[in-house]
């Protein structure tokens, strides 16, 4: 028998509310786990190595190409107004306030977020998380909170690397290839960037890090509860895709919201 559309709608509404509630509690327990003892210092280092150090190369190349393209595009646009001297300011502001935090978060979601989601999903379906709970070991403190803390430490640092390399890329193209005056590039950058801009970039990177680690680990942890995910290996692959898409979209939405509120 086909359930009627109103019942279906109600069912979907209940599912969404349930999911939000689950994810809200999950976030609370994961953050609480950061402060619970015993603290797993070596696990934190391992996670920072994986999420942070492991992502450095991909962040470096993304930043370099973004900075170089920005340098080219910026030069092309500014030249029309005879304002090539503003290139340093344009490139650095765009990277520090927008592209640095956003692209870093998207890269971390794709590289480390997907891996964290798949790891927890597999641990869930093979009952490893149940086993931890049965041994009275809090899976949040043991597994999830170190990932949270490591992401919250790594993403702002990766964003700083992104900013630096991106601006260097813009400088390389603008000054070395297009002949913009190096003095005006650096000076434009120094005069236009304020503490407020750097603070905005930092706040964004922390919020995005939280969104990525929350959504990616949460989807993996709740792999069995997610509607339409199916079972077994297929459920993990579907949920991993969903986690990356969902966290990327959330980063983009929050980017707008934070810019609108904090700018």
């Amino acid at each position: 028998m086909q359930p009627n559309p109103i019942a279906k709608l109600g069912n979907t509404g209940l599912y969404i509310l349930g999911d939000l509630g689950r994810m809200g509690l999950y976030l609370f327990r994961a953050l609480r786990g950061v402060f619970r003892r015993p603290f797993r210092f070596m696990e934190l280092i391992r996670q920072i190595h994986f999420i942070g150090a492991g992502s450095t190369a991909v962040i470096f190349f993304t930043a370099l190409s973004t900075g170089m393209v920005l340098g080219l595009q910026g030069y092309y646009s500014l030249k029309k107004f005879g304002a090539e001297g503003m290139l340093g300011s344009a490139v650095s502001l765009t990277i520090i306030m927008e592209l640095g935090p956003v692209l870093t978060a998207l890269m971390v979601a794709g590289r480390a977020g997907s891996a964290m989601c798949a790891e927890l999903g597999i641990m869930r379906i093979s009952e490893q998380i149940d086993a931890l709970e049965c041994m009275a070991v809090d899976p949040f403190r043991y597994l999830i909170s170190p990932k949270f803390l490591a992401t919250l430490i790594s993403v702002p640092l990766l964003t700083a690397i992104f900013d630096l390399v991106g601006i260097a890329g813009g400088y390389l193209v603008g000054v070395n290839f297009k002949g913009v005056n190096p003095g005006s590039f650096i000076d434009g950058m120094q005069t236009s960037i304020t503490n407020h801009d750097i603070r905005l970039g930092f706040i964004k990177s922390v919020v995005f890090a939280m969104l990525v680690v929350w959504i990616c680990t949460g989807r993996g942890y709740f792999v069995r509860e997610i509607r339409g995910a199916g079972f077994g290996a297929e459920s993990v692959s579907r949920v991993t895709t969903q986690a990356v898409v969902l966290s990327s979209i959330s980063v983009l939405i929050f980017d707008y919201l934070l810019t609108a509120v904090l700018l």
Partner: protein, 261 residues
């Protein structure tokens, strides 16, 4: 020790599928599991055997009814209390649930490292001793994926025994094992129970073999339960559903003809 280790009182558990359909797996189910004995919970697939274990462990919540562990109502306790209660359980999961990124040694040592303050040197001694007892010496540096199914179960059992559990729960312990390995695992259960003296609860559809271990048997059937004081009682049962169960799971040969009309 009290006589009753675990008691289910009018427990109801219902699952809702994605299209909103409800399926009641346990319908006002009541039974008790005596302490220090081996109780087998049997039943066909989807009859709620694994759900029963998860309810006992607090991994799932009941929709109605009460579950008592050593007289304490676990449906109404805080997270911290549940955590402390769980230290008294040992669990062997269906797929052994070993942490696949850790060696056998680290897997077995995990509960001791996380739940006790025993120095690493003593942990090493205790773990190696358990591995020796379970014939896993020499495999401690291997990863779970490098072990056979039977060895994985033994490693899972070694891990479950580390905190000296009062109640051991086995979820389908012989799934995926060949008959000889199945027999060995059952021997191992008898031996370890004699050694440690825990209350043993085995969830299995491996009928009739698992019944050799059983002091008591609980059969789950379409949301209801039938409790038997001994495996033999099952064969003498006059209830139609039990006779059907015996016929389909154990074969005609086990069916008693004394009560045949």
């Amino acid at each position: 020790m009290k006589n009753i280790a675990i008691e289910f009182r009018d427990v109801v558990k219902t699952f809702t599928s994605e299209d909103g359909r409800k399926q009641t797996v346990l319908d006002k189910v009541s039974f008790s599991i005596p302490a220090g004995k081996t109780t087998v919970i049997a039943g066909g697939s989807g009859q709620g055997k694994s759900v029963t274990l998860k309810l006992v462990l607090g991994l799932m919540r009941v929709d109605a009814g009460r579950i008592f562990v050593d007289g304490r109502d676990i449906t109404d306790i805080s997270g911290a209390e549940l955590e402390s209660l769980r230290t008294r359980f040992g669990v062997l999961f269906q797929g052994a649930a070993l942490f696949d990124s850790m060696t056998v040694f680290d897997n077995v040592a995990l509960p001791l490292r996380e739940r006790t303050k025993i120095p690493e040197e003593d942990i090493r001694k205790k773990v190696m001793e358990t591995l020796r007892q379970l014939e896993l010496s020499g495999h401690e540096e291997k990863y779970p994926a490098q072990l056979s199914g039977g060895m994985q179960k033994r490693a899972g059992l070694a891990r479950a025994l580390q905190l000296d559990p009062e109640i051991m729960l086995f979820d389908e312990p012989t799934t995926g094992l060949d008959p000889i390995m199945t027999r060995d695992i059952y021997h191992l259960f008898s031996r370890t129970q004699a050694l440690v003296g825990y209350t043993s609860v085995i969830v299995s559809h491996d009928i009739p073999k698992v019944l050799n271990l059983a002091d008591h048997v609980i059969i789950l059937n379409h949301g209801a339960v039938d409790v038997f004081a001994s495996p033999e009682e099952i064969q003498w049962s006059t209830k139609e559903n039990i006779r059907e169960f015996v016929k389909t799971t154990m074969g005609q040969i086990y069916q008693s003809h004394l009560v045949e009309k």
